[in-house]
Amino acid sequence: MSDDTPDKTANDLSNLTVGGHRSDPEFFERVNSLSGQNVSLCYQCGECTAGCPTAFAMDFKPNQVSRLVQLGMAEEALSCNSIWICVGCETCATRCPKNVDLCAIMDALRQMASKRHVKSPETDVQSFHEVFLSSIRKSGRMHEAGLIAALKLKTGKLTKDIPLGLALLKKGRLNPLPDPVKDKAAVQAIFGEAQTPGEDNGRQ
């Protein structure tokens, strides 16, 4: 092999149009660096989709999400419901014959969608993610009662699940008061590090 081997996956897609949309030439690289994965390893065998417990509810199946990234289809990849339907169970990542961690890619896409304020088709799921994170940020630990209250306010579904909530309270499963961690500053530091400006600050 000659010395002038090009950079790995110098994957420029600027001349490509898919389904009438221009390919975003940087999207592929951004997802790669944010997720710490090399999406070009994916050879579209479909193992991820085959085993995915939530694929039935997705508009783009897991392998298609990977394909959207391979072709630089930023808009579709960030606005599809699949990235929010994915529960991160890691079945796909465990079984992938090329060792691609698709959950990490889903994670990266969720982060990018949030940063770019892309409206999720799964508003409840997105709301839950936001409420959950703010709960952790406040107390360093999840406070179920507070989380439920905040989620009800955010989604407007105030009366739904009341009998279940009461039952949980009765059994002492729902602590009305928060139980914060001792070292809140450490939690803040973690959040601070994760939220330094720009998208490319995730896993490497």
Binding site: A10, D12, L16, T17, Q44, F60
Partner: protein, 658 residues
């Protein structure tokens, strides 16, 4: 008085589960002429064969019926077996109670009856068997290899290395074939010339190899061990004994035509060697384009030649030569993509074929290895490859996979990426078929390390838009249409048989499949043989093959040839037709129906009248014993040894006169 032994085989449970073998043996014991009958679990096994041999000695048997499987499977086994026991090997008959009975019937009672009937028929026949003897046929230990590509070169070298003389016939002015056109070879990226040219030189310097370039096989007759072949040496217009290969004539020739070797990407002269490393390094005059033949003026080459080697008077010469074996290694042709309207009918200059790209990439090619597009000489920044162009496409007459395109397309994408660092490579494919050693890893490397963008789907349209070539197609993984504005498009076109493959097949008496690829004798167990003995296949004339497979098959063909030549002489099969010339009236019907041209009409002296007259005669080396002539003979004076009328009628009587 004949002493017949009948041996009924169980074939494990294959026969025994449907046929009552003990009852069959018992019934056989009372058939006329039978002195011994038994059954055994595996007749073909060593104890089974010993049982036959012992019975021959003990019961003084002189003819045997084995009631088991098809004679195709084990007739030879039992011929050997009884020969070892001292009988003539042709005194055994096979009663096929497996394929003809147990495998096709369920009713045990009726199956057993049918098995007994078949045994009775063969007992009747075997009583009329008579000893037959093989004849010796002389063997010319010299091989003809047709085609001087890598297959022919490898076969010629292997046969010659075993010490037998080889004549290597190549129709272009140089050996080397397709492989000489390639730049690098997958999956190791060896430079094709670096590994091929040493073999070409080995051929030319080998004491046992006689290279005939610019020559063609015109006629083939004869049979294994004794082929007679007419070889036409086309006039090179150059005296090879005088030419030093200095090349002055080729630089001074004023005529320029498109070079076949450069796949029309470059030009050559009318006086030319196809490529710099050509073997032999002797130019030829392409008389079709030469000015001297077209305008009756010029003669520059003769004027500049320092040794006076140019000879305009030279004529084609046809020689008749004898060979014992023939290796067919005539290779393949590339399908012409200009037939595809949606890809621009070949009218878009920057849409080229894979083999044209090989020449573009090659350091001794028309651009000296610089990758520039044919239309304007610009370096392409975006290249689209299309796999399966014409292959796996019945619409274009090729139902088959051309087998090498997936790999060379990956190689092209990878090599172009090495040469043009920031260029984009797109590959449209249906499946990636990378089933060879290191192949899957290689094609993945093009994607994973070199960033080739593989798109699973077909290309629907290619058209020129300004200085861009627009490629429209589909990504079936997403179910979306895609479009790429490319600078250059490379089509992986289908491999096809040579346009004159059918002619050669007819000349050699070998068969072809529906596409005109040469047919092997058996797809698994006889992959280098053809149905005619003494002729072997090597390389892509049989089916699309890559270089490793081609070389392996060529060595296989060579080993078949050397195996044949290692025998002192050939033996003829005695079960062939014979003519009773005393009764033959030379109507020649037999000669007309013989599929092997084994019947000649000869002059004989009539036994009674002492006059010279015509009669049919069977060439024992050519006769396959098919019996067509015996059936066709009006005077009933041809008989097939081993299947005489007396034998066959006795079989029928045994069944009919029950």
């Amino acid at each position: 008085m004949s002493r017949v032994g009948v041996f009924v085989c169980w074939c494990g449970s294959n026969i025994a589960k449907t046929v009552d073998v003990a009852r069959a043996a018992e019934a056989a014991a009372s058939m006329p002429g039978v002195v011994f009958a038994t059954d055994y679990k595996y007749m073909c096994s060593e104890p089974g064969q010993n049982l036959v041999k012992e019975a021959i000695h003990e019961h003084k048997l002189d003819r045997i019926v084995i009631a088991s499987c098809s004679p195709r499977l084990h007739e030879a086994t039992f011929q050997r077996c009884i020969a070892e026991a001292g009988l003539n090997p042709y005194m055994v008959e096979m009663a096929n109670i497996r394929e003809h009975v147990s495998w096709v019937h369920d009713d045990r009672e009726k199956a057993t009856e049918k098995a007994i009937d078949i045994i009775r028929m063969l007992v009747a026949k075997v009583r009329r068997d008579f000893p037959l003897f093989q004849n010796q046929i002389p063997l010319t230990k010299r091989a003809l290899v047709i085609g001087g590509g890598i297959a022919g070169i490898q076969a010629a070298l292997d046969i010659a290395d075993a010490g037998y003389p080889v004549t290597l016939v190549e129709r272009t002015p140089s050996i080397g074939g397709r492989m000489a056109q390639y730049d690098k070879t997958f999956p190791t990226l060896d430079c094709a010339a670096c590994i091929l040219t040493p073999k070409m030189v080995d051929c030319v310097s080998h004491p046992h190899i006689d290279i005939r370039t610019y020559a063609e096989v015109e006629e083939v007759s004869g049979f294994v061990g004794n082929f007679r072949v007419a070889i036409r040496q086309k006039a090179k217009s150059v005296d090879e004994s005088k030419c030093t290969g200095c090349g002055l004539c080729t630089t001074k020739c004023p005529v320029r035509v498109n070079s076949e070797f450069e796949e029309d990407m470059g030009q050559r002269r009318a006086m030319y060697v196809p490529f710099p490393q050509a073997v032999p390094n002797i130019p030829v005059i392409d008389r079709e384009h030469c000015r001297l033949w077209n305008d009756q003026k010029c003669g520059v080459c003769a004027k500049v030649c320092p040794t006076g080697a140019v000879d305009y008077e030279q004529q084609d010469q046809v020689t008749m030569e004898e060979f014992g074996a023939i290796v067919v290694a005539t290779g393949f042709n590339m399908w012409d993509h200009r037939q595809i309207g949606e890809y621009g009918y070949g009218q878009i200059p920057d849409v080229i074929s894979g083999i044209q790209l090989e020449r573009l990439m090659n350091a001794s090619g028309p651009t000296e290895g610089k990758i520039v597009r044919p239309s304007d000489g610009k370096v392409p920044r975006s290249v689209v490859f299309v796999a399966c162009v014409g292959s796996r496409d019945e619409n274009h007459g090729h139902s088959y996979c051309s087998k090498v395109c997936c790999m060379y397309t990956a190689k092209h994408a990878l090599l172009l990426k090495e040469k043009l660092h920031d260029a984009q490579m797109y590959v449209f494919y249906m499946d990636i078929r990378a089933n060879g050693k290191g192949y899957e890893e290689f094609s993945r490397r093009a994607i994973e390390e070199y960033g080739a963008n593989y798109i699973r789907g077909r290309v629907s349209r290619i058209y020129q838009d300004g200085d861009k070539v627009v490629v429209k197609g589909a990504d079936t993984l997403l179910g979306k249409q895609v479009q790429i504005e490319a600078d250059m498009v490379v089509l992986a076109t289908a491999m096809e048989p040579q346009p004159d493959a059918k002619n050669l097949a007819r000349m050699l008496g070998i068969s072809t499949d529906q596409h005109n690829w040469f047919s092997e004798a058996h797809p698994k167990l006889k992959p280098v043989e053809v149905l005619s003995a003494g002729i072997y296949l090597a390389g892509a004339c049989q089916y699309p093959k890559d270089i490793p497979d081609t070389v392996a098959q060529a060595s296989g063909a060579a080993s078949k040839v050397t195996g044949l030549f290692a025998r002192p002489h050939l033996r003829s099969e005695p079960m062939i037709a014979t003519v009773d010339q005393a009764r033959c009236v030379a109507c020649q019907l037999c000669a007309g129906v013989c599929p092997f041209t084994a019947i000649e009409i000869v002059e004989i002296q009539d036994a009674k009248t002492k006059q010279i007259r015509l009669a049919a005669k069977v060439n024992e080396s050519l006769c396959h014993g098919c019996g067509t002539c015996a059936a066709g003979c009006r005077g009933n004076c041809i008989e097939l040894r081993g299947f005489t009328d007396a034998q066959v009628l006795a079989q029928i009587d045994a069944l009919a006169l029950m």
